[in-house]
């Protein structure tokens, strides 16, 4: 087939029905505090990684909850697990455990496992 010189853009919409939220479910079932984030951004404000790279734990958490996993899969690796975010979080989310569990879930490739 010939090259026509155009591409089809991916829709920007979050397709909530077809998105895979198994990673989010995996985390929430093991670390229920994952559910109570109110997106205040305290974690991201204090985050050393986030000050130098495009890493925002707040953003990654909401993307996981929406099943936008691809972006998270690559970016969750940037966290250095220092735990400052845990100290700051007004909701008491165990943010470091969220990161660890997310990595674990991606490694296990949760969706295929279940």
């Amino acid at each position: 087939m010939g090259e026509f010189g155009f591409t089809i853009s991916q829709a920007r919409v979050i397709n909530y029905n077809s998105n895979d939220r198994s990673i989010s479910d995996y985390i929430a079932s093991r670390e229920p505090s994952f559910r109570i984030c109110i997106e205040c951004g305290g974690c991201s404000a204090t985050c050393t990684t986030g000050n130098f790279t495009s890493f925002s734990l707040r953003e990654l958490q909401i993307l996981l909850k929406r099943g936008e996993n691809d972006y998270v899969r690559e970016n969750i690796k940037k966290c250095m697990l220092c735990g400052k975010c845990i100290l700051v979080c007004p909701r008491g989310v165990n943010t470091r455990n969220v990161v660890t569990l997310a990595r674990e879930a991606f490694q296990k490739n949760v969706k295929n496992a279940v």
Partner: protein, 341 residues
Amino acid sequence: MSRHVVVIGAGVAGMEAAGQLSKAGFEVSLVEKDIKTGGHLNDWYKLFPDRRDSSEVKDYLDRITRLNSIRFIPGTEVEKISRINDNLTLKTTEGTEMAADAVIVATGFDLFKAARKEEYGYDIYDNVITSSELESMFCKGKITMADGSVPAKVGFLHCVGSRDEKVGNYYCSKLCCVTAVKQAIEIREHLPESRVFCFYMDMRMGGAYYEELYREAQEVWGVNFIRGKISEVGESINKNLIIKSEDTLAGRPLKMELDMLVLMSGMEMAESGKKLAVSSGLNVGENRFFSSEDHHFGSNLSNMQGVFYAGSCTAPMNIPDTISHARAAVSDVMDYFNLRK
């Protein structure tokens, strides 16, 4: 014989309750740990949402308590309420005992001690102040930094000691949001050259005309609202405050230099109320405020018969709600007496 009701606390709730009780023909003693009446109202400049002078409310409360011959007992704290049959006895810190036919507890709230959130730098950096301290500056008509100069950039941090599990307060203090909006406007009014920034997690404008005030702050006064909690406050070499937050709507970390940061301290159950709860066996909730017997239709009822609650000793409450709650307490006192005729 006239019934004797003791009201504990002479803030807004206590004064209103005392005034109404006295109007209804009861003999009233108003016990206050401070030397004067008015409670927190004395520290406040103007009130939200209409920004009327707080002294107007104080004048009203003074009038209803003065007109109705109430025995005011200042400088006295009630240590314990005990009940034997239908007789209530109050023991004071002075060591005296008082008999009462009914008691209204109106011990109110204490402001959250901002130094407990060390990362915000209160008591560490000179120009980190509380909302209450700013209010006293408004009263004096002079907004200055520690060195006497006028601040050009002022920040407000919402939710200090509220909605924060790190200090054990899950609840929302409800009134700090609108207070920040009011104070932000007042800063702009007093210092027209200034720039003002409010750092918030959620704007909770759930009262009559609160949302309108929020709108006015943006539209008329150019107050900036940034959605992100400040994680820490530091100081630059030239003594400016440096704050870090995430601008969550832009999705990027944000830092800003400020001349002054105002911490919106939340409300906590008053220490005096806590002590009274322990000594007298009055129930408190998870939020440490007195817990009423029924949240919907018995919010003035305590677990001790003849003892009633009024105002912000049961939950963070604004002045109109406090006044209504105090009147409702008086109505419950009357019911209580009617059943015992």
